[in-house]
């Protein structure tokens, strides 16, 4: 075919606040991917997966986007060891559908099954079991990266370790992932045994999350971000472990949100009422029940395009991690700031983290991570700036996969391994072929690494 692989597209982050006009190619096989990269004429290039990063991490205004959605093959699976080799456009949804019925679960997954494995590498995602299982990259045997020189290079903790550390969590700036090897985890069935506990305030929630719970590797707390005063930080703690007994298979029927919701739906009183209901649905004495992995891991996936809930203006998601010692006070401070700003946010999510990630720009660190949706309304800039400041003061960092607002200085202070990342980029992509709106905003390639 002699026709060009490019066409004009307009892409947005999941929060729909960040947009980019780019030229995009959608290769269906590796040879087409290489050909597209070669025909990019020196313009900046970036891979784009399922578009589930909230901000501008996957956007490349005025440059070239390589859509990976059709690079979606499961190349091999070893049913003795659980080792899967796959292309980057494979989604977690596919793994749930194909391999969970055979007793294999992805050991680390983000909160949506529609994310791609390539995106999971690029953001070194974590799940509700970060303390027990670490990050996505902890389960990678190797990755293959199509680098700026047009070569496919294999990288792992042993082989081309600098490329590996720069690529996991490296938000796409080292090249295009062409294949990866991931070790899956054996589970007895399709369900998790989930314990729910209703907790009256932040201290109780933090204690619930940080008390050792070796029998329940999954833990997450949903916090009523609008509750203040005595109730500040009240929430529902979920602890889970693989269930021995499988549940009957249920048809997956996701509902779509066909239109943008008008603003009043998410006004203060509505959200307040919803949060009250959500909190009260758990009996005072707690409850325990088996739940499909799908419903436990991906509660929001039941509504396709749930990001339309926030209307046309979109929303920001703010997620930060704060180190262990500072965590309770820092989270309290962040919740107070959110409360004062009167932002109607649904639920905030609080999780414990146990270890650093393997990537130069991996987000994780031992401590607590807080995530909260913030509708995009006047005043949101000031609020996000204040949250950034508080995170920085507590020695924490903001998650790039969710971010669209962080300052270059804040970024530099939060990611101390940036120099190593820049050194790897200098070696593998000296001319800066791979670029993103986020990299430009945060000046990721500038300075340092002499």
């Amino acid at each position: 075919m002699s026709t060009s692989p490019w066409r004009d597209v307009s892409l947005t982050g999941w929060g729909r606040t960040a947009r980019a006009d780019s030229k995009a190619a959608r290769p269906e096989r590796q040879s087409a991917l290489r050909a597209a990269l070669e025909s990019s004429n020196g313009k900046p290039v970036l891979a784009f997966g399922a578009g589930r990063s909230y901000g501008d991490a996957a956007l490349n205004s005025g440059g070239y986007a390589l859509l990976t959605e059709r690079l979606d093959r499961l190349i091999s699976f070893d049913s003795a060891t659980g080792e899967l080799v796959a292309e980057p456009g494979v989604t977690f949804e596919t793994l749930m559908r194909v391999l969970l019925p055979r007793g294999w679960l992805v050991p680390v997954t983000p909160g949506t099954a529609f994310a791609t494995l390539g995106g999971a590498v690029a953001n070194d995602v974590h799940g509700k079991n970060q303390e027990a299982a670490g990050n996505f990259s902890d389960h990678l045997q190797w990755i293959e990266v199509l680098t700026a020189k047009g070569e496919v290079v294999r990288a792992s903790a042993q082989e081309n370790a600098d490329l590996f550390a720069a690529t996991v969590g490296g938000i796409g700036l080292t090249g295009i992932i062409t294949a990866l090897s991931l070790r899956l985890q054996r589970v007895p069935g399709n369900a998790a045994m989930v314990k729910l506990r209703r907790l009256p305030d932040l201290d109780a929630v933090v204690e619930g999350l940080t008390t050792p719970h070796p029998d329940t590797p999954y833990s997450v707390a949903w916090i009523d971000a609008l509750a203040g005063g005595r109730n500040l930080g009240r929430g529902v703690l979920e602890l889970a472990a693989p269930a021995e007994e499988p549940l009957p298979e249920q048809a997956v029927k996701a509902r779509g949100l066909p239109v943008d919701l008008p603003g009043f739906v998410l006004s203060g009183p509505t959200v307040r009422a919803f949060n009250e209901m959500y909190w009260r649905r758990v009996p005072a004495g707690g409850t325990e029940r088996p739940t499909h992995w799908r419903s436990f891991l991906y509660p929001l996936d039941a509504i396709h395009q749930w990001n339309r809930m926030y209307g046309k203006a979109g929303f920001h998601q703010f997620q930060c991690v704060v180190p262990q010692d500072e965590a309770p006070a820092a989270v309290r401070g962040l919740l107070e700031t959110l409360g004062k700003a009167g932002r109607a946010s649904f639920l905030a999510v609080l999780k414990a983290m146990g270890r650093e990630g393997r990537g130069d720009l991996s987000f994780s660190m031992p401590g607590l991570t807080l995530a909260v949706d913030i509708p995009n309304r006047p005043g949101v800039d000031e609020l996000l700036t204040r949250l950034e400041r508080q995170t920085l003061d507590a020695g924490g960092r903001v998650y790039l996969a969710k971010d669209s607002h962080l300052s270059p200085d804040g970024f530099r202070a939060m990611y101390p391994r940036l120099a190593g990342f820049q050194a790897a980029l200098k070696k593998w992509d000296p001319d800066g072929k791979f670029m993103s709106d986020m990299a430009r905003r945060l000046k990721i390639r500038e300075g340092g690494a002499a």
Binding site: S2, E28, Q30, R70
Partner: protein, 258 residues
């Protein structure tokens, strides 16, 4: 090598689909569609890609899937392909999905006979070679299906791709006769004329009206296979569109830029 006609198919053995031109998005979708109930032989030139695809089918559907090198215009090799397919199928019933093709820009073909020749050879002669070589085996098994991807471009010669269109028109006529021959042996032959599909071929044209996703296309073909249809337009509104385009008088049509 086993005499291809010697073994009657075993009705209990799995169906076997031989996919020719297996790297296209449409062939991929069709392969995934039939794989739950069939074994697959993926034929094409991009062996790296076919290897990945064969692996994908094995992992997803626990079927047998193998990749085979196939070049549509290397006619002499096609006899070997039939033997290979027969060996792969064992006593399973063979079915063919013919999806290979080549569509260079007409403006480039206009100035280059070699390109015109390649277009006709790949789209027409290549298919004739494959279909005629597989015919004895299909007749011997007395059943099975053949799907041939034609094109709406073959329904009427157009300024913008008449060499490609003429090759597909030839193919349509060939398949009509082939269908009659196979019908006598109980083999079902279906011509599929795709309209706009959302594939690499149409990507750079921008968003097209009614462009169908490959998996929806594959599902529709499988439905038509069950109904043993002869000629189908997919998506179906193309039947209407092409009926109109075919009936425009030549003296008017030659002035259009359709």
């Amino acid at each position: 090598m086993t005499d291809v006609a010697a073994l009657p198919p075993d009705p209990l053995a799995r169906e076997v689909w031989v996919i020719l031109g297996a790297s296209s998005a449409v062939a991929r979708a069709f392969s995934r569609g039939v794989a739950p109930d069939a074994d697959l032989l993926l034929c094409g030139r991009d062996m790296d890609d076919l290897g990945r695809m064969a692996g994908d089918l094995r992992v997803r559907h626990d079927c047998r899937a193998e990749a085979v090198n196939f070049n549509a215009t290397d006619y002499d090799s096609h006899c070997g392909l039939v033997e290979r397919a027969a060996a792969f199928a064992g006593r399973g019933r063979l079915n063919l999905f013919i999806a290979f093709g080549d569509m260079p820009e007409q403006t480039e073909i206009d100035n280059d006979f070699a390109l015109a020749r390649r277009t006709v050879e790949t789209n027409y002669l290549g298919a004739v070679s494959v279909l005629s070589r597989f015919a004895p085996r299909l007749e011997a098994q007395g059943g099975g299906s053949v799907v041939v991807l034609g094109s709406v471009a073959g329904d009427r010669g157009r300024l913008k791709n008449y060499v490609y269109g003429s090759a597909k028109a030839g193919l349509h006529a060939y398949v009509q006769g082939y269908r009659a021959r196979m019908h006598r042996a109980g083999v079902h032959v279906m011509t599929v004329k795709p309209g706009f599909l959302d594939t690499a071929m149409t990507w750079s044209l921008g968003k097209l009206p009614m462009a169908m996703q490959p998996d929806a296309f594959a599902a529709t073909i499988m439905k038509h296979l069950k109904a043993k249809r002869d000629v189908v337009y997919v998506p179906w509104p193309w039947l209407g569109i092409m009926t109109i385009i075919r009936t425009v008088p030549e003296r008017v049509f030659k002035r259009t830029n359709i």
